[in-house]
């Protein structure tokens, strides 16, 4: 979706303001929202693309008015409610009011280290051939799906060069919709700064995105 999460090239947000000796979290509720999100991934059964989609799928003004962990928390509430794991009346009451839905497993303290160490690799075996090779000129398609995508607006319609053939990876546009992993070849595509931003761009600038094959066409 063409939402506020897709920020590359927007103006007006002001300078980047690094914080000296920044703590990992800025409030206790941030810690709990972070940990709840990670821990609920086990019984919740959603994937990372569904989680990203749940965070970004909201009106731009709302997205921009929320802090990072507020977005995480709002995304978590969405994912839980979609699956009837929690109802609104329970969040208001601050207590469970309905019997729990059976879940396959939960995250026990003993599993934490192993689950984090394992992570969630997204490369998949394939017997298909990559359509593009290193050095090919490609164009990012002008697509505007209403659902989750990872092709930023600022590269759409622009020509770039295949810099790396990464492998075959889970395709977020399908995975976020519950339409399966639908693995696709993934490439690093490098764009010249002037191709993206015009003649006034920094002549030394090159920008790459990692783009799945369905995002690309031969130029």
């Amino acid at each position: 979706m063409n939402g506020a999460q897709d920020m590359g090239g927007l103006h007006g947000f002001g300078p980047v303001e690094p914080e000296q000796n920044e703590p990992v979290f800025h409030a206790d509720w941030e810690k709990r929202a972070f940990a709840l999100t990670l821990a609920m991934g086990t019984p919740g059964g959603w994937n990372i693309d569904m989680a990203r989609s749940a965070r970004e799928n909201r009106p731009p003004g709302e997205y921009l008015s929320m802090s990072y962990y507020q977005l995480w928390f709002a995304g978590l509430e969405t994912l839980l409610k979609e699956r009837d794991l929690v109802n609104d009346d329970e969040i208001v009451a601050g207590h469970s009011l309905h019997p729990p839905k059976p879940v396959k497993r939960t995250l026990s303290p003993g599993d934490v280290a192993q689950v984090l160490y394992r992570g969630g690799p997204t490369e998949r075996a394939t017997n298909t051939q990559a359509r593009f090779k290193v050095g090919d000129t490609v164009r990012a398609k002008n697509i505007n799906p209403l659902t989750h995508t990872r092709l930023p607006r600022y590269v759409r319609g622009h020509e770039g060069t295949i810099e790396r053939v990464i492998g075959c990876h889970v395709f977020p546009d399908s995975n976020a919709r519950g339409a399966g992993e639908n693995p696709q070849w993934l490439y690093t595509v490098r764009f010249d700064g002037r191709e993206l931003w015009g003649e006034g761009a920094d002549p030394t600038l090159k920008v790459s995105v990692d783009a799945w094959e369905p995002y690309l066409e031969r130029a």
Partner: protein, 207 residues
């Protein structure tokens, strides 16, 4: 939740968030979906164990050990796993080599993708609209916000982390460090130098 104190009373709208987070944790705990001890462990992991000191060890080893450096640039994920760093948000890592001709900078314009096993959780500025919007269009302007200025003809190479590939910048080894141990070299490696918004410390910066 008893045992946790919810401070940050600065903003009333955050108080509502605090209450809602606490309420949800209670509901999920009562339903048996989460174990608060597992939550504590997740928090402790990213507050205490996983952070940019991990990445600094990788960089220092790449500076000191040519064979390791070669393995790192060939396939960073197993090379980094040699030091015990792997897993969530670092399943597929690529190391980027800074040279006198080229400076690498990493961003995630779409959310906050960041190599957790080597850098920990991202700082607020990395996730913020100013950085995500400007890094791909005006990286030299962003570098200026960090007090960094590079030669006019240095190529600025920005990597937008739009997939599950995570990028780690390997900055150039500072001069005057010949014969230094990996431990001492690691003290020169800053978090920002591994994102590409900063440079490593110089020997004179170490007390």
């Amino acid at each position: 939740m008893s045992g946790h104190d919810y401070h940050d009373h600065d903003h009333s709208e955050l108080t509502e968030t605090q209450l809602r987070v606490r309420a949800l944790e209670t509901v999920l705990t009562e339903k048996g979906y989460v174990d608060p001890a597992a939550l504590d462990l997740l928090i402790e992991t990213y507050e205490k164990k996983v952070g940019p000191r991990n990445g600094a060890r990788v960089v220092a080893k790449a500076w000191a050990d040519p064979a390791y450096r070669a393995r790192l640039f060939k396939d960073a994920t197993p090379a980094i796993a040699e030091l015990g760093y792997a897993g969530r948000q670092g399943e597929h890592i690529v190391a980027l080599e800074n040279t006198p001709q080229r400076h690498n900078m990493v961003v995630c314009t779409l959310c906050s993708c960041y190599p957790w096993p080597v850098l920990g959780l991202p700082p607020v500025w990395y996730k913020s609209a100013p950085y995500r919007s400007r890094a791909v269009a005006d990286p030299r302007g962003v570098l200026k916000d960090f007090g960094v200025s590079l030669p006019k003809d240095t190529e600025i190479r920005v990597w937008d982390s739009t997939a599950e590939i995570r990028y780690l910048v390997i900055p150039m080894r500072p001069a005057g460090t010949d014969g230094w141990s990996e431990e001492k070299l690691a003290e020169l490696v800053t978090r920002d130098s591994m994102i590409g918004t900063g440079l490593p410390k110089q020997p004179k910066d170490l007390k």
